[in-house]
Symmetry: C2
Subunit: 249 residues, 2 copies
Amino acid sequence: MTSDDVIPAPLRRLWRLPESSRLGRPAALDVDRIVAAAVEIADRDGLGGVTLPKVAESLGFTGMSLYRHVGSKDELLTLMADHALGAPPDLDTDDWRDGLREWAYAQRAVLQRRPWLTRVPTSGPPSGPHQIAWMEVALKIMSRTRLDWANKVGALMLISGYVVQSVRQYRELAEGRAEGQGQADAERDYGRAMARLVDPARFPETARLFSSMLFEAPPPDTPNTEIADADFSLGLELILDGVAVRIGP
Amino acid sequence: MTSDDVIPAPLRRLWRLPESSRLGRPAALDVDRIVAAAVEIADRDGLGGVTLPKVAESLGFTGMSLYRHVGSKDELLTLMADHALGAPPDLDTDDWRDGLREWAYAQRAVLQRRPWLTRVPTSGPPSGPHQIAWMEVALKIMSRTRLDWANKVGALMLISGYVVQSVRQYRELAEGRAEGQGQADAERDYGRAMARLVDPARFPETARLFSSMLFEAPPPDTPNTEIADADFSLGLELILDGVAVRIGP
DNA sequence: GGACAAAGTATCAGACATATACTAATGCCG
DNA sequence: CGGCATTAGTATATGTCTGATACTTTGTCC
């Protein structure tokens, strides 16, 4: 008789709280199967391929059937995001910096495997069980520091946002020049086009940036992933430096 | 006879490169008017209110007419984003830290005025004239530092991403409990619901976080904007600390 | 003045989210 | 053992959207 009643329906579904009644026709469908099917489609066809008719069809039902289990398409996306995120790794490190770094890399690995996750329109702060589980890991990593809650949450959201942004950016560049031989070439094409548009008189610094991108290309035998890793690491360590300043000795 | 030809059409439109030919029927419509009308609608009704038919109607044309000037709806969104961002402020500071801080706050002000900007699906790295102009300002601010390009761009993207994320988060929380007396209350509602769901046995740290959110509420006479400003400043200064480490003395 | 080329329009197809009203299946109570 | 309340899934329909295609209009240039 805990007052679960006050918990809104979308949250109840997100946390898979059991639906009380056992009356009426039993359900052949449930939230889990719907979400799993939707995620499978997203993995295959991207987020754009996920529509209620297609998800239902892949399960052998009509489009409307989903509305018995999922309030709306937006809610389905939220459910998918939490499901696809999955459980966090167990990170038991004494060193907060190593811990947060591993946490970030783990999150990055998930997003790289499911790029569509970076495009799910986030609605509100973390609220799904997996999101909370990841949050818990990060908070535990920081638990020995003297940071207050605001700083912990701030750091955590900052890292998380950075990971999403950087994975998305990388994917977009890579997809931009579709099949164009990976990211390095796409970056060159981008630089070339921009170098034509950016007038050095109006945008001196930016113009120098773009020409440096064209001329100071990395050695051609460097694998794309190494470039991306280096860029990612750069920003991440910058954030961690910032956290370190806050934590002190 | 510069080879503008190689610049793809979407970029030509984004930079308003003049269309060469003067043959045929003269255009009553142009990219600028379309984009301005679309932005006006977005300002009024949000991003969801922007559809090609509605934009065209507001100009007294049929929906299909827009396709003569804008390749697709996605492209229109890109055009809108750059237009709505507007020109950056002139920030002439010797101190890079003050400069970047002002830059971030200026960007935040723009996004707060047009929250839909935080939800435009970004496609690719900055490429519009206004985006480049903002970039130029940030690069100029950092020009006296000894940072290399990768670090400058990294810092700049990091700050920019942080601003977007934090404005969006704030707006979502505020809208979440619609008309519910602003952000502070919404945050309380969120905390209350989560406190019920987060099992202290499985998520000890997170549970403590949520209960602290409920009990350590800020003094009730604190204006919402002050809380938001404090949160924003926290993350921003953290990033700037990280940049400072990179720059050195 | 007439051919031409581009602008704007009309019509159309294919999807999609979602409301409403309907049919079907099941457990419970009598 | 039967029927009813209750819930699951379905059928149908509406309004909307993006974008394709083909047509009409309106200027310019020879």
